[in-house]
Subunit: 203 residues, 2 copies
């Protein structure tokens, strides 16, 4: 195997750094946009080639891309905990599709971080297509289970909301350790991020 | 925001699908290759722009790229559980660098899947550089904590082993539900993966 190694991300024409930077969490969408089922399947297909603890591959997926299904899922989700005045996206700005990530307990009871790996892979993939979305862990799970008739064999792990973003999201340097995102008067969504030096420990 | 939406991954010049496919789990490396500290920092920097539950950003990182540090970490790691006859890579084929992912309990006790998101982001980034590696959760944590003097404030979550891969890894269709990876007589590493139709539930 002859591999041409590069040491700086910017040296790579793929510019993965730009893709990661572009993959913001979005919560407001152009709801008139629709995500084809084939696209949702392609996004899930990416997860087949992503790491899985002990290669068990215990995750299962439910795909929803039509408006009537989406309206069944929306009420079970909690949106943007730090925006106390905001109950989530208005009609017209709601997600166009959802991917529900389940853990199949007939395979294992321990899903490790498989769903984090899968969710990030899907979100980066969606971003290459110009889409965006939100990983939602704050779910009224029993309500969603009933609404979607999800058998007890499956644990509800995450819901990925997807669509065509219509909000501007910017990253700010963190101030005084305050991690709360906020919206300014122009409805720009600000997300404070810790510095690299704060993340890398020197022991 | 005027976004040109694509619906098929293959329509994107970045070819993210190819990147994901190329990002295999590797366990044998050219140990003479060295990973600059700057590269490790760039990889961790990607995680600053990845999703974090409630934007808490509780992960911290330890970076090790020199041979003497690597030899301190290697003994605490368990390799390839399904390869019973193999105790891990021989000297000369061991990783050239490690990123230890910690959860800072002074920020939160619940790290959700932040470390899965971060690990996949780092591994995809490493892959764009021609590197490869392995996410390791099977760690003798107290041994590693002592060796690296990791304070009790930090939970050891994952170790990412990185280097220049020297093994061939292929993906096979799964047979009879057997997820165990294996090595053939030519030392090619085979990884059985479930089909897309098995992953997508229809309720």
């Amino acid at each position: 195997m002859d591999i041409n190694i590069k040491t700086r991300l910017k040296d790579n024409p793929m510019n993965f750094e730009e893709l990661v930077f572009k993959t913001r969490t979005y919560r407001r969408f152009d709801e008139s946009f629709s995500v084809p089922q084939k696209t949702l399947r392609e996004l899930v297909n990416l997860t087949r080639f992503s790491a899985s603890g002990a290669n068990r591959q215990p995750l299962k997926y439910l795909l929803y891309g039509n408006p009537s299904d989406c309206s069944r899922i929306f009420p079970s989700l909690a949106w943007a905990g730090y925006l106390k005045e905001w109950e989530g996206p208005e009609p017209g700005e709601r997600p166009s599709a959802y991917i529900v990530i389940l853990g199949d307990k007939s395979i294992t009871d321990s899903f490790g971080v498989d769903h984090g790996i899968a969710a990030q892979t899907i979100m980066l993939g969606a971003s290459t297509l110009g889409m965006g979305g939100c990983m939602i862990a704050s779910i009224r799970k029993e309500e969603l289970r009933t609404e979607l008739n999800i058998p007890g064999q499956y644990e509800i792990l995450l819901v990925l909301a997807l669509g065509k973003p219509v909000e501007k999201v910017v990253i700010d340097d963190i101030k005084d350790g305050d991690v709360k995102y906020w919206r300014d008067d122009s409805q720009v969504h600000h997300v404070p991020k810790r510095s690299l030096d704060e993340l890398i420990l020197k022991l």
